[in-house]
C-alpha cells in the first residue's frame, strides 16, 4: 500500500465515522422525547387527579348549599304566624295542636310534610292529641301523602303556656322541625 492511498483511506474512514455520531445524537433526541413524554403523562395524571378532587368538592358544595336552603325553608316555616310564638325560631306548641291535619292549609306549605318533635329523653313517640297534650312529643302538622321524600331537620324553641301557683308563664323546651321535600328524579 502506498502512503497516499492510506491517507485517502483514513479520510474515508473518518467519513464513515460520521453516521456513528449522528446515531448518538438520535439516541439523545429519543431520550429527550421519552423524558418529555413521561413528564407530560405525569402532569396529565396529576391534573386528572386534581380535577377529580375539585369535581367531588363541587358536588359536595352543591349538596351542602341545597341542604342549607332546605334548612332555611324549615326556619321560614317555623317563623310563619301560623306557628310562631312571637320570637324568631320559636314555635308555639298550642298553635301546633290546632294546626294539626288542617285541610285548609294543604296548598299553603311549599313542602311535602311538616313534623315537629320535642327533644327529650323519651324513646317512645307519643303523638299529640287534645287528650294527651302536653304529655306528648310528636306533632304531625302536615302530610301530603308523597312517599318519596327527603327529611331535613333543624332546632327550634318549642314553647307553651304553663301554670305555676296560679301564675301563667311561657315554658320553652327544645324542639325539632322536620320538613319533608319531594325527592327529584334525575333527568
Amino acid at each position: 500500500m502506498k502512503l497516499g492511498q492510506l491517507k485517502i483511506q483514513v479520510q474515508e474512514n473518518h467519513r464513515f465515522l460520521m453516521p456513528r455520531f449522528s446515531r448518538q445524537g438520535q439516541l439523545k433526541i429519543q431520550e429527550m422525547a421519552f423524558m418529555l413524554l413521561a413528564v407530560v403523562v405525569f402532569f396529565a395524571i396529576a391534573g386528572m387527579f386534581f380535577l377529580v378532587i375539585m369535581y367531588n368538592d363541587l358536588i359536595g358544595s352543591a349538596n351542602l348549599l341545597a341542604k342549607e336552603k332546605a334548612i332555611s325553608t324549615a326556619v321560614n316555616i317555623a317563623n310563619t304566624p301560623e306557628f310562631s310564638c312571637g320570637e324568631t325560631l320559636c314555635i308555639d306548641a298550642d298553635k301546633l295542636l290546632v294546626m294539626q291535619n288542617r285541610q285548609d292549609y294543604e296548598d299553603f306549605w311549599p313542602v311535602a310534610s311538616i313534623v315537629v318533635t320535642k327533644v327529650s329523653r323519651d324513646k317512645e313517640i307519643i303523638e299529640c292529641t287534645e287528650k294527651n297534650y302536653p304529655y306528648c312529643n310528636y306533632f304531625k302538622v302536615y302530610d301530603s301523602g308523597i312517599t318519596n321524600i327527603e327529611m331535613v331537620e333543624t332546632f327550634v324553641s318549642l314553647c307553651r303556656k304553663d301554670k305555676a301557683n296560679e301564675y301563667i308563664y311561657n315554658k320553652c323546651e327544645i324542639g325539632k322541625v322536620l320538613v319533608g321535600f319531594e325527592k327529584k328524579q334525575p333527568g
Binding site: F42, A46, I53, E68, I71, S72, V75, E87, T88, L89, C90, V119, S120, R121, E153, T154, F155, V156, S157, C159, A164, N165, Y167, Y169, N170, K171, C172, E173, I174, G175
Partner: protein
C-alpha cells in the same frame, strides 16, 4: 515493546477517560432526575396534606347555630320570683355570681346544659356525633380596640373524642358592658 506499550496505554487512557466522563454525565443526570422526583413528591404531599386538612376545618353549621339560639329560651328550673328563668337569664346570673333559690346558678347552668346536650347530641358508637365542646364565656372589649379585653370563662362542657369532620357555631347576647358567648363544637364521624 515500548512503542506498543505506549500505544496501549494511550488507548486505554482515552477509553477510560471517556468512560469516566460518560459515567459522570449519567450520574449527574440521575441526580437531577432524582431531585426533580423528590421535589414533585414533596409538592404532591404538601397539596395532599392541605386538601385533607381542609375537610377538618371548622365549618359553621346552621343546625348548631339554631340549637344555640333555641337553647337560650329554654326554661330552667331556676325560680327567682314566681316565673322560672330561661338559660339567657340564668347565664347572666351565673356571671354576676348571684344564687338561684339557694343554689349556685353556675352549677344549675352546668346541669341544664349537660342535660340538653345529652338529649340532643347523644354520644355513643351508633350515633354520628362523637364529640362536643360547649364553652360559655363573658367578653368585654374587642380585638383591635383600645383598652383591655376582659375574658371570663363561665362554663366548659366536653364529652367524647374528636374524630372526623368538625363543625360548630357561636351565639352571643349583650350583658352589662360586654357579651356572653356560647360556642359549641361538634365532631362527626
Amino acid at each position: 515493546m515500548i512503542k506498543t506499550k505506549k500505544k496501549d496505554n494511550s488507548r486505554f487512557d482515552l477509553k477510560a477517560n471517556k468512560k469516566i466522563v460518560k459515567s459522570k454525565r449519567s450520574q449527574n443526570e440521575i441526580v437531577g432526575f432524582v431531585m426533580i422526583v423528590v421535589i414533585v413528591v414533596i409538592i404532591g404531599l404538601f397539596l395532599l396534606a392541605f386538601y385533607l386538612r381542609k375537610d377538618t376545618v371548622r365549618t359553621e353549621s346552621q343546625n348548631v347555630e339554631n340549637f344555640l339560639k333555641a337553647s337560650l329560651s329554654y326554661t330552667t328550673s331556676c325560680k327567682v320570683d314566681i316565673e322560672p328563668l330561661n338559660i339567657r337569664e340564668l347565664a347572666k346570673r351565673c356571671y354576676e355570681k348571684k344564687p338561684c333559690a339557694e343554689k349556685d346558678s353556675c352549677v344549675l347552668l352546668n346541669e341544664t346544659f349537660s342535660e340538653l346536650l345529652e338529649q340532643t347530641w347523644k354520644i355513643n358508637s351508633s350515633r354520628p356525633v362523637n364529640y362536643y365542646n360547649l364553652n360559655v364565656y363573658y367578653r368585654e372589649g374587642q380585638e383591635g380596640e383600645s383598652g383591655e379585653i376582659k375574658n371570663e370563662e363561665m362554663l366548659v362542657l366536653k364529652q367524647g373524642n374528636c374524630t372526623g369532620a368538625k363543625t360548630g357555631a357561636k351565639e352571643f347576647f349583650r350583658h352589662n358592658m360586654g357579651d356572653i358567648f356560647l360556642e359549641l363544637e361538634l365532631c362527626y364521624k
